[in-house]
Amino acid sequence: MNIFLIAAILMAVFISIAILRIILGPTTPDRVVGLDTTNMMVIATMILLGAAYDSVILIDVAIVYAILAFVATLYISKYLEDEA
């Protein structure tokens, strides 16, 4: 019984709730916020899984992803700003 794995499964349930906002979201900004929330929770899940598998190398993926998720959200937001 790994406590970090249980926490990761709990985070996966929360990710499903954030995906629900991407599915339903009537406007595009709703979907962008849903995607950003999903990004951050996936980073947290990656770190929890790195602790569950007891491996240091797996944490580097989360660091790379934390930078790139920001860039992707910024691109979509700049597009929405130009259009408005």
């Binding site: 995906i19 991407i22 979907r31 899984l49 790379v64 860039v71 979509i76 597009y79």
Partner: protein, 82 residues
């Protein structure tokens, strides 16, 4: 072991949902957002299958590069699917 299977099941179901969504949405920008979520979850699945290098490449290409290039393409063309 059952806990890992449960985790795989949740992530794979979410991948199917977001892939279906990115094909069916009328708004192409919303479709790109759904595609970004799909590649993000795919990176998480690669990560859980103990392939961190593949997960890193998928994250870099799927989240950063593909989203940026699709947004540039939408900017030059139409946003709404007709």
């Amino acid at each position: 072991m059952e806990l890992e299977l449960l985790m795989h099941g949740i992530v794979l179901a979410l991948i199917i949902i977001t892939a279906y969504l990115s094909l069916t949405l009328e708004d192409i920008l919303a479709s790109v957002i759904s595609f970004a979520a799909m590649s993000l979850l795919l990176a998480l699945e690669f990560y859980m299958l103990q392939a961190p290098d593949v997960a890193m490449a998928e994250a870099a290409i799927g989240a950063g590069l593909t989203t940026a290039i699709f947004i540039l393409a939408i900017k030059k063309t139409e946003r709404w699917d007709v």
